[in-house]
């Protein structure tokens, strides 16, 4: 209590100086957390984007499909998977089966390599971005659409076509023969990235199976778990129940580049915290040194009165701690408020859309901060703040009372 009372009054002896360092700490915390939230938002957006773009959180394939994604490596009888998934997956988990094959789309004027995806419209909508919400013109597929196809806006523009027009899809079937079929554009979708709009076309799953002569075969099963569920654990459980003719992968295994980026992201965040702290740290040391040197005689008096060196050390550290805690309090409040405000509406990066797409970022970033980020920032500032305050505190503790009291 004595330390706290003295510390509180001492830090307000020079309100201007305390205010300056207080603002520096608030700004430091605010910048650290806000930037971390923005970067976390970018990372989350990239993950969300990747998962929504036909990856899912877990995928099941036939053995060898990932190395050679051809129709011959399809899952021939998915019916044996259904009871296992129904048994293992939690109640709110969603999954869908797809046929996915490389194809050539063409019309009278243009042709282009695309990924032809055969989907079950009802279940697909719950697992990936493609669904009624993504349709900007026409309608989403339904089970009656035997010749219906959904194209992305960018591909429609590239092909100079429109809703209701025909488009021919050509690919290789399981017999290694060319399979070709005309479809009518029933819907046009919009995605966050133009590449997605250009690369994917969607038809009904049974039509894809017919075209490729797959019978009941599928290329993959993609699934999404309820929020907070351990993806790797579930993948391991599914794997343990399936025969060796299946492969089970999490999105981290499927998206190597993104996984590597996320690992690098955590390290770069720590470097970012350190960089901001170093700038802030000089301010803290400088302020505390000034506060100590202008009170040399007072420290001499305290020692003469019987205060031990270690108590003087605590006294100065207590002053640093108070400034740090106050700055951290307001800094955290402002940061969380900033993150909350921007998290509600998101930050529209439309002006950076091309560049953002290049690195797989979504157009709208939702800054997001986790408790672990907040904890790391606060521990970094408080912990290192106290460590660097040891220098002025030790200076104060080591003054000889006689020299200190004769200091002018």
């Amino acid at each position: 209590m004595m330390y706290f009372q003295l510390a509180w009054r001492n830090i307000w002896r020079n309100p201007r100086r305390t205010t300056v360092i207080f603002i520096a700490i608030v700004m430091g915390i605010w910048i650290m957390i806000s930037m971390a939230a923005l970067m976390r938002g970018v990372a989350d957006g990239m993950v969300r984007q990747a998962i929504k773009t036909l990856t899912g959180e877990i995928q099941i394939h036939h053995q060898g499909y990932r190395n050679d994604p051809v129709v011959e490596n399809s899952i021939t009888d998915p019916s044996e998977l259904k009871p296992i998934l129904d048994q293992l997956l939690p109640q709110n988990a969603k999954w869908t089966a797809r046929v996915r094959v490389n194809a050539i789309a063409s019309n009278a004027r243009h042709s282009s390599g695309v990924t032809l995806v055969g989907i079950d419209p009802l279940s697909e909508e719950q697992v990936s971005f493609i669904g009624k919400k993504a349709i900007i013109e026409g309608k989403f597929l339904d089970s009656q659409d035997t010749h219906g196809i959904i194209l992305g806006k960018a591909l429609v523009e590239k092909f100079e076509t429109r809703l209701g027009n025909k488009i021919v899809m050509m690919t290789q079937n399981t017999q290694k023969e060319i399979a070709s079929r005309a479809f009518r554009i029933v819907g046009i979708f919009k995605a966050d990235m133009a590449d997605t709009e250009k690369n994917f076309v969607f038809i009904n799953l049974p039509e894809a199976q017919k075209m490729l002569q797959l019978d009941r075969g599928i290329s993959e099963i993609a699934l999404i778990l309820p929020k907070g569920h351990a993806i790797a654990d579930m993948a391991a459980q599914i794997k343990s129940r399936l025969s060796s003719s299946y492969e089970v992968h999490t999105w981290r295994e499927l998206l190597h580049a993104l996984s590597a980026y996320l690992k690098m992201f955590d390290k770069s965040m720590q470097l970012w915290y350190m960089a901001v702290f170093i700038a802030m740290g000089f301010g803290i040391v400088n302020t505390m040194l000034m506060a100590v040197f202008e009170r040399i005689r007072e420290f001499g008096l305290l020692k003469a009165l019987g205060m031990k060196s270690v108590s003087i050390l605590w006294q100065v550290l207590c002053e640093s701690c108070l400034i740090l805690v106050m700055g951290m309090g307001l800094g955290n409040f402002l940061s969380v408020l900033t993150v909350y405000v921007f998290n509600q509406k998101g930050i529209d990066l439309a002006f950076l859309a091309k560049g953002a797409e290049f690195v797989g970022m979504s157009r709208i970033i939702y800054p997001n901060i986790g408790w672990d980020d907040l904890l790391i920032v606060n521990l970094t500032v408080w912990g290192l703040g106290m460590v660097i305050s040891l220098y002025p505190a030790l200076k104060a503790a080591r003054f000889s009372p006689v020299k200190a009291m004769s200091y002018y």
Binding site: L6, R13, K303, A304, L305
Partner: protein
């Protein structure tokens, strides 16, 4: 046994390349209850001797025993404890902690001693009343005159019933009337509470209040009456 027993102490300071012999073979014995003045001109070694008695400074040779504690064998933390419990200080200037009120300044030493808040408040108020500052207990040092500040310092020095109070030129910054008042207060506390006072001065008026005068010149005791 004497409260303070100083035997053949020597103290040399180095200022740049010059060695200053502040004390040369000083031997003094002061008994409990004394009101002793260390007199002498500037540079005679009064403050150095007070600092050494208070355990704030060390000697090159010789022995100091205060209240049965021989300093040579004590660590700095033990000396701090001795100052905290046995010795009160009144300095010439900059005596009080500026961010604390008069009452809190008086309480401070007891706070370091771990006295309960209730007890230290009542003791501090009582002593402030005795030094005539009960009405000003809430004032910060800058709201008090020089004389009032010195009275608070005396109150703080004696509030925890030390064996010894050391005062380094306590009246040097005060006008003669205020200085006289402070000396009378110190004398009163010396008689009433039987606290030993050792103070330095070069003012003949101040020396007249002392029951014993030790005259120092160039670091040597030249008279002791």
């Amino acid at each position: 046994m004497a409260l303070i027993q100083i035997t053949d102490i020597n103290k040399t300071y180095t200022q740049g390349k010059i060695q200053i012999h502040a004390l040369k073979g000083v031997t003094i014995s002061i008994h409990s209850g004394g009101f002793v003045a260390l007199a002498g001109p500037s540079g005679s070694g009064k403050t150095t001797l007070l600092n050494i008695i208070g355990g704030l400074d060390t000697v090159d040779s010789g022995t100091i025993i205060v209240d049965g504690h021989e300093y040579q064998n004590m660590r700095s933390s033990q000396l701090a404890n001795l100052r905290l419990y046995k010795i009160g200080f009144v300095f010439q200037a900059y005596n009080l902690i500026p961010v604390l009120s008069a009452l809190e300044n008086v309480e401070f030493v007891m706070q370091l001693q771990g006295v309960s808040s209730k007890e230290r408040r009542s003791r501090a108020m009582k002593i402030l009343d005795e030094v005539g500052l009960a009405e000003m207990y809430h004032r910060r040092p800058h709201e008090l005159s020089g004389g009032q500040q010195q009275r608070v310092a005396v109150a703080r020095a004696i509030v925890s019933n030390p064996s010894l109070v050391l005062a380094d030129e306590p009246t040097a910054n005060l006008d003669s009337e205020t200085g006289k008042g402070l000396l009378m207060l110190m004398k009163e506390m010396n008689e009433k509470k039987n606290v030993t006072f050792v103070f330095s001065t070069h003012d003949p008026m101040v020396m007249n209040y002392a029951s014993r005068k030790i005259l120092l010149r160039d670091g040597v005791v030249v008279d002791d009456v």
